[in-house]
Symmetry: C2
Subunit: 195 residues, 2 copies
DNA sequence: GTCGGATGTAAACGCCTGTTGACTAATTTC
DNA sequence: GAAATTAGTCAACAGGCGTTTACATCCGAC
């Protein structure tokens, strides 16, 4: 047997980059930017620390990459919903249907690094989402009240995501999709129903 | 004139403690625990760094003190409301009627230091508030659905507070009490109205 | 007035942070 | 298969962190 069960690690820059990105998203989302060290991330990824600087030029750069990759992933999954599907989509994100029940993509949008460029990406994404959501509810440019309501909806959803992920407040902490769909639907329809 | 406009600083431990506490609450709430340094806090308070260790024994200790003092203040202002007043009270906190439009007490409840004891205080407070709110809506022990709805309400409110305070997402960022009262009332009554 | 505890100061401590440069090892190119 | 390019390693760095220690200064009690 030349190499059967050996966990040989072929050198692969793309794969390494991805490992770092995944580990970083976990850490940044759950611990925040400042509390996360590059050594933590590298260890989680099973990769040498210096490679963070090589592939992302800095910790800030890695954070920005996390942000844009999460944003891309959200765009991909959140496109083209009807108003009555919005609650369902949000709950899917909250309950983390794709990963392990941890709404990382959402929580990242609340994590600031203090860096101006990263914050622009973050806030830009929030603004885009808010406008998209407002449009579904019949928004036209200049209607600040409805835009505000869309932003409140997003803020509320992010709050739920954050509280779920950083405290073990029960029953919210371990509520599943079926538990959340009721309250969240009520919340969203109540706010977005045009006054 | 012996001492007219002179800003002489009489030595006063109580006052110094309070200055540190105020500065720390500002910093911890707006930047988070890890991103805040003890030197930042001391400078803001106009006080020597070493006094943090003296009066609060550590940065953790200061954070705990911030938490309990904020919790006390919230208890004082949040006691004995009726269900139909809840939205108004929350909006008052969100709009920061007492201070400068920054809902620090609320945001602190979302800021984790990673320390176990501090997190217990934090989560304990959240639990208490959730139960109090649920009770106003007719909760009796064991009714997990209504408790969940109360927790969702709190999570949503905290999300609004956090988004308001750390992004400049307009119009949410600079919305006043009169702008928020509508959406927030809708939100709260929709979630808490027993299904 | 002076003594003693309380209050504030300054400098240093050891540790951990993000980042870098010189190096080795693997992979691709010809 | 040798050369050249890419991928990964290792150790050190300068700076900032929270904390401590030894010292100056103020203030109230006697």
């Amino acid at each position: 047997m030349t190499s059967s069960s050996a966990p040989i690690k072929r050198r692969d820059a793309t794969r390494t980059r991805q490992l770092l990105l995944d580990a970083a998203r976990h850490r940044f989302a759950s611990d925040g930017y400042a509390a996360t060290t590059v050594r933590d991330i590298a260890d989680d990824a099973g990769v040498n620390v210096a490679l963070i600087s090589r592939y992302f030029s800095s910790k800030e750069g890695l954070f920005e990459a996390c942000l844009t990759s999460s944003v891309d992933e959200m765009r991909r999954t959140a496109g083209g919903a009807r108003l009555d599907e919005v609650a369902e989509r949000i709950v899917e994100q909250l309950a983390g249907i794709d990963s392990d029940g941890f709404p990382r993509h959402l929580v990242l949008l609340l994590r600031s690094s203090g860096d101006a460029r990263a914050d622009e990406i973050r806030v830009g994404m929030l603004r885009t989402f808010a406008e998209k959501l407002a449009s579904l509810a019949g928004w036209t440019e200049g209607d600040d009240e409805l835009l505000l309501r869309a932003q409140v909806t997003i803020a509320a959803s992010l709050g739920i995501a954050l509280l779920r992920s950083n405290t073990r407040l029960e029953p919210l902490g371990s509520a599943g999709r079926e538990d959340l769909i009721g309250p969240v639907t009520d919340l969203i329809t109540a706010i977005l129903r045009k006054p």
